[in-house]
C-alpha cells in the first residue's frame, strides 16, 4: 500500500513538471513564426550589415569580399586620396554634431511645450480628458511625411507664416525659413511632440492630486509644488518621453530631407548618401551602426533609470 502511495506521489510531481514543459513548448511554438519573420527582415540584416562594414567598397556600389577596417576609420577620419594624409573627417563629425544638437533641442522644446500639455490633459474632467487625449493621438498616427509637408507649406516664402507676418506689418520681406536648421528643428518638434506628451500624461494619470493638496497644506508655493512634488513623481514619464523624442530625431531621415533641402544634412541623410552618389556601402554600414550604438546607449540609460525609479518606488 505504502509503496503504491510513493509511486503515485512521484507521478503527480512529474505531472506538474510535465504541464509546465508543455506550456513552455506551446509558448515557443506560438512565437516561432513571428520570430522567423523578424529575424529575416529586422534582426538578421543588422548582422549582415555588421559584416559589410568590414568589407571593401565596390567600384560602382556594392562591396568586394575583402576584409577592411577602412569604413570604420572613415567614420571619424579623412584620408586624402592623393597623398594619404590623415585628418579629422570634419564633414562627418559636423553632421553627427548637428544631429545630436538638433535632436537635443527638439527634445527640449517638446518638453517645454509637452509637459504643460500633458498636465493640462491630466487635470481635465474624466469625460473631456479622453477627447483631449484623442486630439494628441490623431497626429501621432498620421503620416509623418504629410505632417512634414504641412510644415514645408506654411514656412515657405509664400507660406502662411510669412503671409501673416507681412500682413501684420511685422516684416516686409519674407523670412527665409525653409532649408535651415530652424526649419528642421521646427519640423521634428512638430512631428515628434505627441511622443513626449503621451508618456508624461500616462505618468500623470496615475498621479494622486492629494499629494499636491498636502504640499499646499504644508506651505509650498505653486512653483515649489511643481518642482518638488509633481516633476519628481512624473519623472519616469518625462524620461520615457525624452527618449522617445530623442531617438527618432537622431535617426530622422524624411524631415531633414524635406525641410533641410539637401544642404543641412543629418546622420540619416549622410547614411543615404553612401548608398546613392557616394556609393560607399561599407561606410554607410559603419555609419548606420554608429548611429545604432548612440541610440542603444540612450536606451540603456533609459532602462537603467526606469529600473532605478521602479526600485525606489518599490520600497
Amino acid at each position: 500500500m505504502s509503496a503504491e502511495q510513493d509511486s503515485s506521489t512521484e507521478s503527480f510531481e512529474s505531472l506538474e513538471a510535465h504541464a509546465y514543459q508543455l506550456e513552455v513548448r506551446r509558448n515557443l511554438l506560438l512565437s516561432t513564426p513571428a520570430l522567423i519573420v523578424l529575424f529575416c527582415a529586422a534582426s538578421g540584416p543588422l548582422l549582415i550589415m555588421l559584416v559589410f562594414s568590414f568589407l571593401t567598397p565596390g567600384d560602382y556600389g556594392g562591396i568586394k569580399w575583402q576584409f577592411s577596417t577602412e569604413a570604420w576609420f572613415q567614420v571619424a577620419f579623412y584620408r586624402d586620396i592623393f597623398d594619404e594624409t590623415v585628418s579629422i573627417a570634419d564633414a562627418h563629425l559636423s553632421i553627427f554634431w548637428r544631429s545630436v544638437k538638433l535632436s537635443f533641442l527638439t527634445t527640449l522644446v517638446a518638453f517645454v511645450l509637452g509637459f504643460p500639455t500633458a498636465y493640462f490633459i491630466a487635470t481635465r474632467s474624466p469625460e473631456t480628458r479622453n477627447l483631449w487625449l484623442f486630439l494628441v493621438t490623431i497626429p501621432f498616427w498620421t503620416n509623418l511625411l504629410i505632417r512634414t509637408f504641412a510644415i514645408l507649406e506654411i514656412i515657405r516664402n509664400q507660406g502662411l507664416v510669412n503671409n501673416v507676418l507681412i500682413a501684420l506689418g511685422v516684416i516686409d520681406q519674407p523670412l527665409d525659413m525653409l532649408y535651415t536648421d530652424i526649419a528642421i528643428l521646427l519640423g521634428m518638434t512638430y512631428v515628434y511632440i505627441p511622443l513626449m506628451i503621451l508618456p508624461i500624461y500616462a505618468s500623470m494619470e496615475r498621479f494622486d492630486f492629494q499629494l499636491v493638496e498636502a504640499a499646499y497644506d504644508l506651505y509650498a508655493t505653486r512653483w515649489r509644488v511643481l518642482v518638488r512634488v509633481i516633476v519628481p513623481l512624473v519623472k519616469p514619464g518625462v524620461i520615457a518621453g525624452s527618449i522617445l523624442v530623442f531617438v527618432p530625431s537622431l535617426g530622422a531621415y524624411v524631415t531633414p530631407r524635406v525641410l533641410g533641402g539637401g544642404k543641412h544634412l543629418m546622420i540619416g541623410n549622410l547614411i543615404e548618401l553612401q548608398f546613392g552618389q557616394g556609393r560607399n556601402w561599407p561606410l554607410g554600414a559603419a555609419l548606420s551602426l554608429s548611429l545604432l550604438v548612440i541610440v542603444m546607449v540612450a536606451l540603456i540609460f533609459y532602462v537603467r533609470s526606469a529600473q532605478k525609479e521602479g526600485g525606489a518606488h518599490g520600497h
Partner: protein
C-alpha cells in the same frame, strides 16, 4: 486687496493652460492650408483661385498615383493581416504564462523594430535584399511585404498584449470547468474576448504600413513606388495641389482608422 479674484485651485499652474492650448493649436494649424489648398482651382499651392476638385480628379486620373495607391493598399493589407496573425500568436505565447527562459529575448526581438532607427533597418534591409537579388535574380514584392510585415508586428502586438493582460484567466478556467477542451475554450472564450484587441492591432499595423516612407524607399525595386514614396519623389519638383489632394485623402484614412482604434481599445475587457 485680494491678490486673485478667482478661488484658489489646487490643480492650476499659471501659464500651463495657455501653453497647452497653443500646443493643440500648433498641432492642427499646419494641416489647415494643406487641406484647403487641395481644393484650389489654381495651379500652385500659394495662390488661392477658387474652390475646385480638379486636383482630386487629376490625382485619380494619374496612372502613377493610381498604381502607387493600389500598391500601397495591397502591401498594407497583406502585411497587416500576416503581422496581426503572427503578433496574436506571440502575444498568446508571452502573456499570462509562468515565466520561462527566453521570454525576455522574444519580447526584445518583437519590439526591436520600435527601438532601432528606421533608417538603420532600411539600410540593413537594402544590403541584405541586394545580396538575395544578386543571387536569385528575384525582384518581386516579397521584399517589400516581408519588410512591412516585420515592422508591423510590434504595432499589432501592443494592443493585443494589452487586451490579453487585462483578461481574467478565470474565464478560461470556468470554461474548462464546464467541459470545454483547451481548444474549444480558446475558440469560444479567449478569441471572442480578444477580438477588439486583434482588430485594433490590425488597424494600427495597416496605418503604419500605409504611412511608411523610409523603409519602403530603400527596399523597393524599380517601379514599386507606394503613395508615400511617390509623394517624397514629387516634393523635389514643383509642388502642385495634387500632392495636397493625395495628402488629404491619406490624412482622412488615418483619422478614420485612429478614431475606430481609439474607441475599440476603450471598450473594457
Amino acid at each position: 486687496m485680494a491678490t486673485s479674484s478667482r478661488p484658489f485651485s489646487i490643480e492650476r499652474m499659471p501659464g500651463f493652460s495657455l501653453l497647452a492650448l497653443t500646443c493643440f493649436f500648433a498641432l492642427y494649424m499646419p494641416l489647415a492650408p494643406l487641406v484647403v489648398y487641395s481644393f484650389n482651382a489654381g495651379d500652385n499651392i500659394a495662390l488661392w483661385e477658387g474652390l475646385s476638385l480638379r486636383w482630386y480628379v487629376a490625382a485619380w486620373e494619374n496612372d502613377l498615383v493610381q498604381s502607387a495607391a493600389i500598391r500601397s493598399v495591397v502591401v498594407a493589407v497583406i502585411a497587416s493581416v500576416v503581422a496581426t496573425s503572427l503578433a496574436t500568436m506571440v502575444a498568446l505565447g508571452t502573456t499570462r504564462t509562468r515565466p520561462y527562459r527566453g521570454q525576455t529575448s522574444i519580447y526584445a526581438m518583437v519590439n526591436q523594430p520600435l527601438m532601432v532607427p528606421e533608417i538603420v533597418t532600411a539600410v540593413a534591409l537594402l544590403i541584405f535584399f541586394a545580396l538575395i537579388k544578386e543571387s536569385t535574380g528575384y525582384h518581386g514584392y516579397a521584399y517589400l511585404i516581408s519588410a512591412h510585415t516585420a515592422f508591423c508586428i510590434p504595432f499589432a502586438y501592443l494592443p493585443i498584449r494589452a487586451r490579453l493582460e487585462g483578461m481574467d484567466r478565470v474565464l478560461e478556467t470556468a470554461a474548462a470547468d464546464l467541459y470545454a477542451t483547451p481548444w474549444r475554450s480558446f475558440t469560444r472564450v479567449t478569441l471572442p474576448l480578444l477580438l477588439p484587441g486583434i482588430l485594433a492591432g490590425a488597424m494600427l499595423a495597416f496605418v503604419i504600413s500605409l504611412d511608411d516612407v523610409v523603409i519602403t524607399e530603400f527596399v523597393k525595386s524599380a517601379g514599386q513606388d507606394t503613395l508615400p514614396t511617390y509623394m517624397l519623389g514629387q516634393l523635389r519638383r514643383t509642388i502642385t495641389p495634387e500632392i495636397n489632394a493625395i495628402s488629404t485623402v491619406l490624412l482622412g484614412v488615418s483619422v478614420v482608422m485612429v478614431t475606430i482604434i481609439f474607441f475599440l481599445s476603450r471598450k473594457k475587457a
